[in-house]
């Protein structure tokens, strides 16, 4: 389901800039090939069997009639009726049976055929025993269209050796419109051989659903017969994106652009347009993974941080093993172990759930260290001051230490969030559908690296603003810890004057010593008078 969506959104036209032709041909070749001429041998076999059965049946009946002269007249009537009944299908038996009607997937890589897009329509029929076919008319469904490059190829498949059928070009005249194709053969096709008609760069109607091709043929006696209805073709309607791509493909600048190999492979405008809507969903998935995983990691990380500072040796030991093992091994490896190891233990969680859990586990170890460093960076004097006021450990933590820690760790935590967001891409290794996997699928079908570049841009949508936010947080932190502080009540005159002085002096300070997240220097330590004067 997911894969289908990705693939469908990534469709591209078959007709496109010439430079990408080789790549697209390769992509086309990689597509699953339809089974060749004998796609439906069972149909023909069934037809043959029923004809033979009819002959046998009538023979038996005749002998029965001969034995009983009394019933002759009656039976004759019955026989006639039966003969008529049996012969009606026999006379109507198709000399030309449709074996296969297919359209090639139009270069988007999937098995889908997009209506309104140039495709290759193939019609294959077998000329039955005792017949010869001189001409055929294929009637297309409503809404088909020709392109400038549309052409028809008519071949005969000579079946003297069914293992190795011979393709032979047929001398014929073709009359092709968007509604029908009339082929008149110079020489009739012999019985047992296959008529192979291919219409290249032909557009089927743009709709979601099934269409079928009807038609008629002319036998060697010049009699026109209806073609039996053949298999239908499933179509998908063309999308707006596809139309945009089509029109882009016609642009001169796009073609010029794509004539540069690097630009074509990495920054192909057509693939950019194709990848943006498709990768948006991959981006949402990656974002979802980190938005669920990270908040899960915060409480776990905080808990581990407290354990690491615990009075009890055992708790310290356990938590430090957790942190060091997780931080000391690649996330990639952790993902592998979780995704391949747990199923062996009989635990088979949903891919996304497991992905989120592994990300959360990994991040919790890093966050634990961030929190621990944050808490330990708080000046010892803060603990002492709180203690000297009679506050217990929990009160000290909640009202004094953690509020200060939060300010200090937010920039580092945001960095960790960015790292984790980027690390969601590692889940592609085990097939979790996220941004990287979406991009990979597209790249594989496109034979073009542009989707990776688009994926990179999607990652940047998250990471660049967050990087900016970090620096804003750091400035705020610096302000709250005394490097730069505006007066709270601006209405007060004396305060204003004081503040003015302060800001000036502090401004100088800021350029000398910007406060980093891990800067543990408390503003109350040694020379508190440096910021202001009374």
């Amino acid at each position: 389901m997911l894969r289908d969506t990705a693939v469908r959104d990534g469709r591209l036209p078959r007709a496109r800039a010439t430079v990408s032709l080789r790549a697209s041909t390769r992509a086309h070749l990689r597509l699953p090939a339809q089974p060749a001429a004998f796609a439906r041998p069972s149909d023909r076999a069934a037809r043959g069997t029923s004809a033979r059965a009819a002959v046998l049946h009538s023979a038996l009946l005749r002998s029965a009639v001969l034995r009983s002269a009394v019933l002759r007249s009656t039976v004759l009537l019955v026989l006639l009726v039966l003969l008529v009944l049996l012969l009606i299908p026999a006379t109507r038996a198709f000399a030309l049976t449709t074996d296969r009607v297919t359209a090639a997937p139009n270069q988007d890589g999937g098995r889908n055929i997009i209506g309104g897009e140039p495709t290759r329509l193939t019609w294959v029929g077998t000329v039955e025993e005792g017949e010869e076919v001189c001409g055929i008319t294929l009637v297309f469904p409503e809404g088909c269209a020709l392109t400038e490059d549309t052409y028809v190829k008519v071949q005969e498949m000579v079946m003297t050796d069914p293992q190795h059928p011979l393709h032979e070009e047929l001398e014929c005249s073709e009359d092709l419109t968007a509604e029908r194709l009339i082929i008149t053969l110079d020489d009739p096709i012999a019985a047992g051989n296959l008529l192979y008609v291919e219409i290249y760069k032909f557009c089927l109607p743009s709709l979601n659903g099934e269409v079928s091709i009807t038609g008629s043929y002319v036998d060697d006696a010049g009699v026109e017969h209806e073609l039996a209805p053949g298999p239908s073709i499933s179509l998908i309607a063309i999308t707006g994106t596809q139309r945009l791509i089509n029109s882009l493909a016609q642009q001169d600048w796009v073609q010029a652009w794509n004539s540069v190999k690097f630009l074509n492979i990495f920054l192909n405008p057509l693939w950019i347009v194709a990848a943006v809507p498709s990768l948006f969903f991959g981006w949402l998935r990656s974002l979802g993974l980190v938005l669920l995983g990270f908040p899960l990691a915060i409480p776990v990380g905080l808990g581990i941080a407290f354990l690491r500072m615990s009075r009890f040796r055992l708790l310290r030991l356990v938590s430090s093993i957790y942190v060091n093992v997780i931080r000391g091994t690649p996330l990639f490896l952790q993902i592998y172990i979780a995704f391949f190891g747990l199923p062996l233990l009989g635990i088979k969680p949903n891919d996304y759930v497991l992905g989120i859990l592994v990300l959360a586990m990994n991040s919790s170890a890093y966050l634990a260290e961030i929190f621990r460093a944050g808490i330990q960076s708080i000046n010892k004097g803060q603990f002492e001051a709180a203690s000297s006021l009679g506050m217990n450990g929990v009160q000290t933590m909640f009202f004094v230490i953690i509020p200060q820690t939060v300010r200090r760790v937010i920039p580092t935590m945001t960095s960790e969030f960015i790292l984790l967001f980027k690390d969601t891409s590692l889940l592609a290794a085990v097939g979790v559908m996220e941004q990287m996997m979406f991009a990979k699928t597209l790249v594989n079908t496109a034979g073009n690296m542009t989707p990776y570049v688009v994926a990179a841009c999607y990652y940047l949508i998250v990471t660049l603003p967050l990087t900016r936010i970090i620096s804003i947080f750091e400035k705020k932190l610096a302000a709250s810890e005394g490097r730069e502080a505006p007066p709270p009540d601006k209405g007060e005159k004396s305060a204003k004057v004081d503040a003015g002085k302060r800001t000036k002096r502090v401004g100088l300070f800021k350029t000398i010593a910007p406060l980093s997240a891990t800067d543990s220097a408390p503003m109350t330590s040694t020379s508190p008078e440096r910021h202001a004067s009374e």
Binding site: A385, S388, G390, M391, Q395, Q404, E492, T524, P528, E534
Partner: protein, 265 residues
């Protein structure tokens, strides 16, 4: 304190000592030892501080005076010896030390205000959390205390927006809001620029005049001479000399005291 008062106090102490309990001594320290690893910082200190008394501890750096002060509210755990606070042996591991600490106010050299809270909230926090005062009451007391230390117009300022002297006065207000029975000052003015020291000393002086029991570690000789009821000179982890400011400053008996005071002067 008059000589008559002193005599009465001595008599009373003599009587009470026989019973083993003193109702007047707020803090009583007996044979206090403290070592950091192999470094002995306090080597058997005995000290008694009475209600309403202002004791100033002097001494060179490293003499153990700050450690002694920090032992009083158990910010440092004594290695040996006993400390009584209002006749409760707080060195007993069974004692809830937080209950003792809320009655012992402490002012630090580095102020240690909570940087994320305004002056008012700094003063309110422990009242709310420890004494469980209502918000209105805590706020009223906070404003009252800040007014008392001369910061009525700075209540909404963050510590970072205050000068060092102002910060230290907020710290004093914060300690006073807990209605402490004794106040410990650990070099409260040492981190301040000279011109800011006076504001803090004024607050301390008025506190002493109001009858607060105070143990003060300081280098401000003028303040010690003027405000102290008793001056203690410590050196090398022990009390070398103690007496009235007059005795210690003008007639030091001990060589080391003379040396120290000579250097200071």
């Amino acid at each position: 304190m008059s000589a008559a008062d002193q005599r009465v106090r001595d008599d009373l102490n003599a009587v009470l000592d026989q019973g083993g309990r003193s109702s007047r001594a707020v803090v009583r320290i007996e044979q206090l030892h403290k070592a950091f690893g192999s470094l002995a910082v306090l080597k058997g200190v005995d000290l008694e501080v009475d209600r309403g008394e202002v004791v100033v501890i002097l001494g060179p750096s490293g003499s153990g005076k700050s450690t002694l002060l920090r032992c009083v509210n158990l910010l440092e755990k004594p290695t040996a010896g006993d400390i009584f606070f209002e006749d409760v042996r707080i060195t007993d591991p069974k004692v809830n030390i937080n209950q003792v600490r809320e009655k012992v106010g402490m002012v630090f050299q580095s102020f240690n205000l909570f940087p994320h809270l305004s002056a008012k909230r700094n003063v309110m926090l422990a009242q709310r959390q420890v004494l469980k005062r209502s918000k209105q009451e805590a706020e009223r007391i906070a404003l009252e205390q800040l007014e008392k230390v001369g910061l009525g117009d700075r209540v909404e300022y963050l510590p970072a927006q205050l000068s060092g002297g102002q910060q230290q006065r907020v710290a004093i207000a914060r300690a006073l809001a807990m209605d402490p029975h004794v106040m410990l000052f650990d070099e409260a003015t040492s981190a301040l620029d000279p011109e800011l020291v006076r504001g803090v000393l004024d607050v301390m002086r008025s506190l002493a005049e109001a009858g607060m029991t105070m143990i003060v570690v300081t280098h401000e000789m003028g303040f010690a001479r003027e405000v102290a009821d008793r001056v203690i000179f410590m050196d090398d982890g022990a009390i070398v000399e103690e007496g009235s400011p007059l005795e210690v400053f003008d007639h030091p008996k001990h060589e080391r005291t003379r040396d120290f005071l000579g250097h200071i002067a």
